[in-house]
Symmetry: C2
Subunit: 342 residues, 2 copies
C-alpha cells in the first residue's frame, strides 16, 4: 500500500514550499509563479502520479466537487436517463455524484439528506421530493444549493425543473376526445407528489373544457406510481360501474398495471377500452399493446437541472428561474382506438 503522494512530497522533491506547489497545480493561481517553476513542478507531479486529496481541499475550501442526487428508486426505469443527463453536465466539470434512493419515504429522505450533507456535497438535485417537506425547504434555505426535478415544492423558493404536465394531459385528453371518447376515467398519481396532484388537476380542468362529465367514480386515486396500484385502481374503476371507454393514467407504470387487469378480465385494449400513460419510459414500445403516452425529456430534464445547480453552486446569489418547464410530446402507439360503437 504505497501512500499516495501529497503536495508535501512534491515540495520535497522539487525543493520549493508546499504552497508554491499548490499554486503551480492550480491553473488560476499558476500565473503568479514563474513559468519554469510551474513547468518543473507539473512535471514532477505528473511523474509521481500526484492526485489531489479532495477531502483535504474540501475541508479547507468547503467545496468538495461532489453533489448529491436524491431519487425515489433507481430501479424505476424513468430515473437512469435523468441521471445520465445530470452527469453529462456535471462530470465534465469535475463533479462526482452520490446517489441515494429515498423509496419515497419521508424518514429515509431526511436521513439521506443528512448523509449527503455530512459528506459536504456542494449541492443537491432532488428528484424525489414530496409536495410538502419543511425539512428540505429548511436545508435549502440554510444555503445548500438545491434544485428539484420532475417534482416541486410549491412556494419554497427552490428552483424546479418540471415537465409541462398540464400540456401533456391536455394533449392526450384531446387525442382521446378526437377518437370519440366521452367517458374517460383517470388513475391519479399520489396526492403527496406534485406530479400526481398536477396531472389530476389538469385532467379535471381539461375534461371540463371539453365538456366531459367527470363524476367522482371516474377518478381512482393511487398511493404510489407503480403497477400494483395500477391494477388496484383499474379494478376499482371497472367495478365502479361507470361506463368508461378509456383510462388516462397519470404515468406509464399505472398504465402497465391497467393492461394486466384488462387482459385478465378479457377486456381488449384498445378496441374495448383505450389506455394512455405518461413519461414514455424505456421498453414501452416493446410491450403490447404498445402504450400511447406523453414523452417527457428525461435526459434533458437532468441536463437542465444540473445546469441550474451548477449556476447556484458557483454563485449562490445567481438569478435562476424558479421554475423551468420543459415541453412534452405526444407519442402515438397502439393503445388507443375509437370507443366501441353502441
Amino acid at each position: 500500500m504505497r501512500k499516495a503522494p501529497t503536495l508535501k512530497d512534491i515540495a520535497l522533491a522539487t525543493g520549493v514550499h508546499v504552497s508554491t506547489v499548490s499554486r503551480a497545480l492550480n491553473p488560476s493561481l499558476r500565473t503568479v509563479l514563474s513559468d519554469d517553476v510551474v513547468k518543473h513542478i507539473c512535471e514532477v507531479a505528473a511523474q509521481m502520479g500526484y492526485r489531489p486529496n479532495r477531502l483535504a481541499a474540501g475541508l479547507r475550501t468547503r467545496r468538495t466537487m461532489t453533489v448529491g442526487l436524491m431519487i425515489p428508486d433507481i430501479t424505476n426505469a424513468i430515473f437512469p436517463p435523468i441521471l445520465r443527463g445530470v452527469e453529462s453536465v456535471l462530470e465534465p466539470l469535475g463533479y462526482a455524484s452520490i446517489i441515494v434512493n429515498t423509496d419515497s419515504i419521508l424518514a429515509r429522505e431526511h436521513l439521506l439528506v443528512d448523509v449527503l450533507r455530512e459528506r459536504g456535497v456542494d449541492g443537491i438535485i432532488h428528484a424525489a421530493v414530496l409536495r410538502n417537506d419543511p425539512k428540505i425547504v429548511k436545508v435549502a434555505a440554510e444555503g445548500t444549493p438545491m434544485v428539484t426535478v420532475n417534482r416541486k415544492i410549491e412556494n419554497s423558493g427552490i428552483p424546479a425543473v418540471v415537465n409541462d404536465d398540464a400540456q401533456g394531459i391536455r394533449m392526450i385528453l384531446k387525442y382521446l376526445f378526437d377518437f370519440g371518447h366521452r367517458k374517460i376515467a383517470h388513475i391519479a398519481g399520489p396526492e403527496d407528489l406534485s406530479t400526481g396532484q398536477g396531472r389530476k388537476q389538469a385532467f379535471v380542468a381539461g375534461a371540463r373544457e371539453l365538456g366531459l362529465d367527470v363524476p367522482a367514480r371516474a377518478i381512482a386515486q393511487s398511493q404510489r406510481f407503480d403497477e400494483a396500484e395500477g391494477r388496484r385502481c383499474t379494478a376499482a374503476l371497472l367495478d365502479g360501474g361507470w361506463p368508461l371507454t378509456a383510462i388516462l393514467c397519470a404515468n406509464d407504470r399505472l398504465a402497465l398495471g391497467a393492461f394486466e387487469v384488462l387482459r385478465a378480465r378479457g377486456i381488449d385494449c384498445p378496441t374495448q377500452v383505450s389506455v394512455t400513460g405518461f413519461n414514455d419510459m424505456p421498453f414501452l414500445d416493446l410491450i403490447p399493446p404498445r402504450l400511447t403516452t406523453v414523452r417527457i425529456q428525461q435526459f434533458e430534464v437532468g441536463q437542465v437541472s444540473a445546469d441550474i445547480l451548477v449556476k447556484l453552486m458557483t454563485d449562490p446569489a445567481a438569478a435562476v428561474a424558479s421554475e423551468t418547464t420543459l415541453p412534452v410530446k405526444l407519442v402515438v402507439r397502439d393503445s388507443v382506438a375509437p370507443p366501441p360503437s353502441g
Copy 2:
C-alpha cells in the same frame, strides 16, 4: 446560511474540551468518560443539531464511509437491481456510494477510478471491469479494497462475485436440445468481457458434450451487449446460410435485437426459430414473444459483493473467497418451441 455546529461549538456550549466531545459522541470511546458528561454532551449535541463532518474525520482517519460503484451504464436495466442489493448492505452500515458510469470505455474507467480515489472512497465495487485491465489490478494491489461483480479479471487476486454462467449456458443448451434442436447458433458477448468470453466457451463445450456440430458460422461475435449488436449478429447469422433452428444469445439485450430482426424478416419466433437470452432483465415477461432465459440473482449478487467489500474494508487482511459463484435458474417462457419439422 447558518454554519453547521462543530465539535468546537459543542465544547464551548458544554464547557469541556473538544476531544471530550469527540469521545462522548463516539460510542466505542464513550466508555472512558463519566456517564453524566456523556449524557450532557449528547443532549447538547442533539439540541444543536450536530452532524459530524466526515471530510474532516476522513482526513484524519483515512476512512470516509463512502464507497465507489463502477458500472458500465445505469440505463442498462440489469444494474439498478444490483445497486439496490449493494446498498441494502452498505447503507445500514453508514456507507454512501458514489456511482460512476464507465460506458465500458477503458479511458473513462481509468479516469473515473481516480475520481473515486481522490474522494477517498474506502473501497470499490467494480461491475464494469474488462477482462484485462492492469491499472485496476494495480489500484487493488496498492491497497484499495475492491471486488468485481458479474465480471472478473483472471488471476488478479481481486475477489469476484459472479454468476454460474457455465451452468446457465449448459441448462439452456440442454433445454433447447431436449426440444429437438440440433442446429443451435450463438450470439457471443464481447470478447473483452469475462462474461462474453465465459459464456461462449461454455456454449462451445456444452454443444460438444451434446454431440452438436458448431461450425464457425454458427457463432456471431458481438462487440457490445446491446440490441443493435443483437440485430447485426442475427442478420449475419441468418445470412450466413447455416440452417439454424435456434439462437442462444449471450444476454437478453442481444436476444431482444434478435426478436426485431426475426420479426422484420417475417420469421416467427418460436415456431420457426427459437431464441434464448441470459440475465432475465426487468420487463422481459411483458415483451412478446416472452423470452426464455437464465435468471441471475441480481439483487443478491450486489449483496454478496457488498458483504465481501465490507469485510475487506474493515480488515484488509481478511480472508475472502477469491471467487464467489451464485447459482442461476432457467426461466421458461415462450420463445422456445420445437424446431420446424422437415
